[in-house]
């Protein structure tokens, strides 16, 4: 069957299983009967790596799989390029089933489509940085001069062109992983598999690398499958995040979905320590602006609307343009004098966009006015009340869907 959106779905995994042991068929049958991973290990000595996992990664998306060690995430990513063959299920890359590919076809996929970045860098110690980066190209049979040039380009992308002729151990951990990344990028793959690439790095360097990856991704638009055990990292990088436990996904969703509505206690426990201000955006706490119009609405109308909405300030628009804001305490004295809105207009109002992170709203909230959410063209899209920002951060913005989320 040809699925209409198959063009944009780069990787599709369907009911993938991986069992390590002598007779995977037996364990597979036990799993299908609903037996647990521990039971199977106790009775047969076989380890269930991944069970019944299905997912889709869209083109140019960063798909993050987050899980603790032993959750099967490294096994899962290795099945995408066939380093570990799945016991059952299909893994389609552009419609080609990796699980069914022979050695020749698999090499072809690895050479042309899928590159990998490793946790402990896995740089070849006997090759220079440039030769490491050019390894995939050499394997493909590219001429020495051309692959040197391509390796230098890839090194320039990660800012290491000066180290082309050094050996890996002369570089720091962060630099080594940049080389690992450059090696992945040099062959110009469509898909990049990253197996805990930043876990072995210091926290500060890790943060740099995350930002650098996002920066690179903005221009290169690869399809990335990123493995991590750090939920913060997952939330920063992932367009889609899958939380993995005991070989299966417990929840798949965007950062806001994972933190906002954890699927179960396990996910909730992870999200507890998360800096929510980095996950949620202004859009998630926006309310309708309900502005008053300059030259049309009177002070009385504005005051009546504030009372009805329970707000102490409203925005004033002039056509599509925002003219400013008016506050209740300024308008109230004017009501008797029948003054105009214009005389109480505050033109120095706080503004942000829908995608602004909550942590950037703190200074804006100090003005006492609601924060205006402005579209790229300057139109008023909504407002954010400071108390809603704090409600979101505390996780009390809406009635908890799960009793466990406290």
């Amino acid at each position: 069957m040809f699925v209409p959106d198959a063009m944009s779905s780069k990787i599709i995994a369907k009911n993938v299983y991986k069992i390590f042991g002598e007779q995977p068929e037996t364990a597979l049958e036990m799993l299908r009967q609903g037996r647990s991973k521990d039971e199977i290990l106790r009775e047969t000595g076989m380890t269930v790596g991944v069970r019944d996992t299905s997912f889709t990664v869209e083109e140019a998306q960063i798909f993050v799989v987050m899980g603790l060690s032993g959750s099967g995430k490294s096994t899962l990513v290795r099945m995408i390029n066939g380093l570990i063959p799945p016991t059952a299920g299909e893994i389609l890359i552009d419609g080609d089933d990796v699980a069914a590919a022979d050695a020749q076809k698999l090499r072809q996929i690895r050479r042309d489509k899928v590159a990998m970045v490793f946790q402990h860098f896995a740089l070849f110690p006997h090759k220079t940085v440039a030769d490491n980066v050019a390894y995939g190209l050499k394997i493909k049979g590219m001429k020495a001069a051309e692959r040197r040039q391509r390796a230098e380009q890839a090194l320039a992308q990660v800012g290491l062109e000066a180290y082309a002729d050094s050996y890996p151990e002369e570089l720091s951990g962060g630099m080594q992983q940049r080389v690992g990344l450059a090696r992945g990028l040099a062959a110009e793959p469509e898909i990049l598999l990253m197996d805990e690439p930043f876990s072995a790095l210091d926290p500060l360097i890790r943060r740099d690398m995350q930002e650098e990856l996002l920066e690179l991704q903005r221009s290169m638009k690869k399809t990335i499958v990123f493995i991590t055990h750090d939920l913060n990292e997952a939330l920063i990088l992932g367009d889609q995040i899958a939380i993995m436990k005991d070989g299966r996904f417990v929840q798949v969703g965007t950062a806001e979905e994972i933190v906002g509505a954890p699927a179960d206690d396990y996910v909730a426990a992870f999200t507890q320590d998360i800096d929510r201000s980095r996950v949620f955006t202004a859009g998630s706490v926006a309310q309708p602006a309900e502005p008053v119009e300059l030259g049309k609405d009177t002070v009385a109308v504005a005051l009546e609307r504030m009372e009805r909405l329970g707000r102490d300030a409203l925005y004033v628009v002039d056509g599509k343009r925002i003219a400013g804001a008016v506050a209740y305490r300024d308008l109230a004295p004017l009501a008797r004098e029948d003054g105009s809105l214009e005389s109480a207009l505050i033109t120095d109002y706080p503004k942000a966009t829908r995608t602004t992170q909550l942590n950037e709203l703190y200074p804006l909230a100090q003005s006492g006015l609601p924060i205006a959410l402005v579209s790229r063209r300057g139109a008023l899209e909504g407002v954010v009340a400071p108390q809603d920002v704090f409600g979101k951060l505390a996780g009390t913005d809406e009635p908890p869907t799960e009793p466990a989320s406290a």
Binding site: M116, A122, F124, G136, I139, A187
Partner: protein, 314 residues
């Protein structure tokens, strides 16, 4: 005391005699003779070359190689000890022994490295190979000297063949070990970029195993040297023969002189091969750079080295 032998004995010696004399030798002698051919060619070429090279040139070149690979001390030792060998009038014997050793080690490498690689790739092959290697390492060489003489005759080449049998196991074992010990994530990275098995071997496994393989080569070399006297029993010449003759005539002086010659060669070759294996462990051991390192100094310093050597001893 009663023992099982009272009732029944196994005539093992007769069986083996029958097997070797009546079956193996008549049927396979031509085949074994043909196997000698490449060894003979290499040995003759090498010996003719080493005997033809003037003593001074050889000494300087070997000292220069030692200087490039193992440093100044070994170079100085090489220089002095080779002159000493010439002074005790054992130069031609030393060259013969050297030709034998190099030939034996060359064939050990040519056979041992591929076998070691095959053993690293297949657990089943290793399971079969391991007892064979154990036997080769534990069986006293005297045991296989007789069948070797029966199959190959006497002389230098049978001596070398006995040496190969004796010295082969370490290079096989250490090649296997070196390749198996290449870090798993590097192998995985090789696979992830689509390497063929051959590319994997040549680009990743072999260069990374090279240090261990060189250690195996060093061990093989040492074992080959320890066979020099035993090989002289079946007609191999060189320093071994000097020792053997000295032994036969109770000529302590001659036997000791030959022994000293063997020890000197052993020390020089050991230091150079060890240094080759350990060198560049920081910068990585690429196959080519190691091989180039071997040959580079041999070409140039023939001209330069005398000056360097000249201004040193003062």
């Amino acid at each position: 005391m009663p023992s099982p032998a009272d009732l029944f004995t196994i005539p093992l010696d007769d069986w083996i005699n029958t097997f070797v004399r009546d079956w193996l030798v008549p049927n396979f002698r031509p085949a074994f003779r043909a196997m000698q051919w490449p060894v003979t060619q290499v040995l003759n070429g090498l010996e003719a070359f080493l005997q033809a090279v003037p003593m001074a040139v050889f000494t300087v070149v070997l000292a220069a190689i030692a200087w490039r690979t193992a440093g100044r001390g070994v170079a100085l030792f090489t220089l002095v000890s080779l002159i000493f060998i010439d002074l005790i009038e054992l130069w031609p014997e030393t060259m013969t022994t050297l030709a034998m050793i190099v030939t034996a080690v060359l064939f050990c490498t040519v056979i041992g490295v591929p076998v070691g690689i095959a053993a690293a790739r297949s657990d089943r092959f290793l399971a079969v190979l391991r007892p064979v290697l154990d036997i080769m390492q534990t069986i006293p060489p005297f045991v296989y000297l007789v069948p070797i003489v029966m199959l190959f005759g006497v002389g230098m080449v049978p001596g070398i063949i006995a040496t190969i049998v004796f010295a082969l196991p370490p290079i096989i074992r250490l090649t296997n070990l070196g390749i198996r010990n290449v870090r798993g994530d590097l192998i995985e990275a090789g696979h992830a970029f689509g390497s063929t098995p051959w590319q994997m071997l040549w680009e990743i496994q072999f260069p990374l195993a090279l240090r261990t393989i060189m250690a195996g080569l060093n061990q093989t070399l040492m074992l080959a040297l320890s066979m020099v006297v035993i090989a002289a029993l079946i007609g191999a010449g060189g320093l071994g023969l000097v020792v053997f003759t000295g032994l036969g005539r109770l000529d302590v002086g001659n036997a000791t002189a030959g022994g000293i010659g063997i020890v000197i060669i052993a020390i020089i070759l050991d230091r150079i091969t060890q240094a080759l294996g350990e060198r560049r462990q920081v910068g990585g051991t690429s196959l080519w750079s190691t091989l180039k390192g071997l040959f580079r100094p041999a070409a140039a310093p023939t001209v330069e080295a005398p000056e360097r050597q000249a201004d040193r001893p003062a």
